[in-house]
């Protein structure tokens, strides 16, 4: 199993730590993992992304141009990475703030209202956890419990009381995506 992902969005959306949590989750699950951020002055622009690879084999390059899964959280990221998803791959996007929907038909496209959900949860900080949940609902590459364990690693000790809240957010994300899928299925 090798899962090659890009997570892209705004600096403030917790894009980089999302990737780290998934990686730590992978470690907990005994996988090889790699995380590679975009770096450089283009970050001035405010966009950020990271490439995450989970695999049961040694990972060659942590930098990729094509992905199994792209999680895009703002319009510029969708514009940039929609085309980078491998045929048959997965594109997940956050609905809020997008001005267009993806055009590709040879990939699976899923959307999520994670931002609104985080507002409903009265904590926009858990936005990225909801997105993780959404991902796991579609592609259960990691056990939820391993993701939580990963979270424990990434979160500084003093924030550990927030873990239950984050877990809840992940589960909310899973539900949200499943509901959507249900709706989709119902429609289809």
């Amino acid at each position: 199993m090798t899962e090659e992902m890009i997570i892209a969005g705004f600096g403030g959306q917790g894009v980089l730590s999302m990737g780290q949590i998934l990686c730590y989750g992978g470690v907990m699950q005994g996988l090889e993992v790699s995380w590679m951020p975009s770096y450089g002055p283009e970050m001035r622009g405010g966009t950020a992304n990271c490439t995450v690879i989970l695999s049961d084999e040694p990972i060659s390059s942590p930098v990729l141009t094509r992905f199994d899964t792209a999680i895009v959280l703002n319009q510029p990221s969708m514009d940039k990475f929609e085309k980078a998803v491998k045929p048959g791959g997965l594109l997940i996007y956050e609905e809020n703030g997008m001005t267009r929907t993806p055009e590709r038909t040879d990939i699976e496209v899923r959307s999520l209202g994670a931002y609104d959900e985080s507002v409903r949860m009265k904590n926009t900080k858990v936005f990225n956890m909801i997105v993780i949940g959404g991902l796991l609902a579609v592609k259960p590459v990691l056990e939820v419990e391993n993701v939580i364990k990963g979270l424990e690693k990434v979160l500084p000790e003093r924030y550990h009381h927030l873990i239950p809240l984050n877990e809840e957010a992940i589960r909310k994300g899973i539900e949200l995506m499943q509901d959507k899928a249900g709706a989709l299925n119902g429609q289809g």
């Binding site: 405010g46 703002n74 319009q75 510029p76 703030g97 001005t99």
Partner: protein, 71 residues
């Protein structure tokens, strides 16, 4: 008092830094609720008190604002 001045805001280039708000002596400017395509909130005119002093335009780091004044 009738407006003596007016401005044009190139909202697609605005980065929502709000420096212009501070500079306007007449509180003409506010931030939009919406974001532009880059995801920034942008400056909007909220009244017609503009005197064309160009204060907003001169401090805007992104040169977003053009200013007109009846001379």
């Amino acid at each position: 008092m009738a407006a003596k001045g007016d401005i044009i805001i190139d909202i697609e280039r605005c980065k929502g830094c709000q420096v212009c708000l501070d500079a306007c002596p007449k509180d003409v400017l506010e931030m939009s609720r919406k974001v532009n395509s880059k995801g920034y909130q942008y400056t909007v005119k909220v009244n017609s008190d503009c005197t064309g002093c160009a204060n907003c335009a001169i401090v805007c780091p992104d040169a977003v604002i053009s200013v007109y004044r009846v001379k």
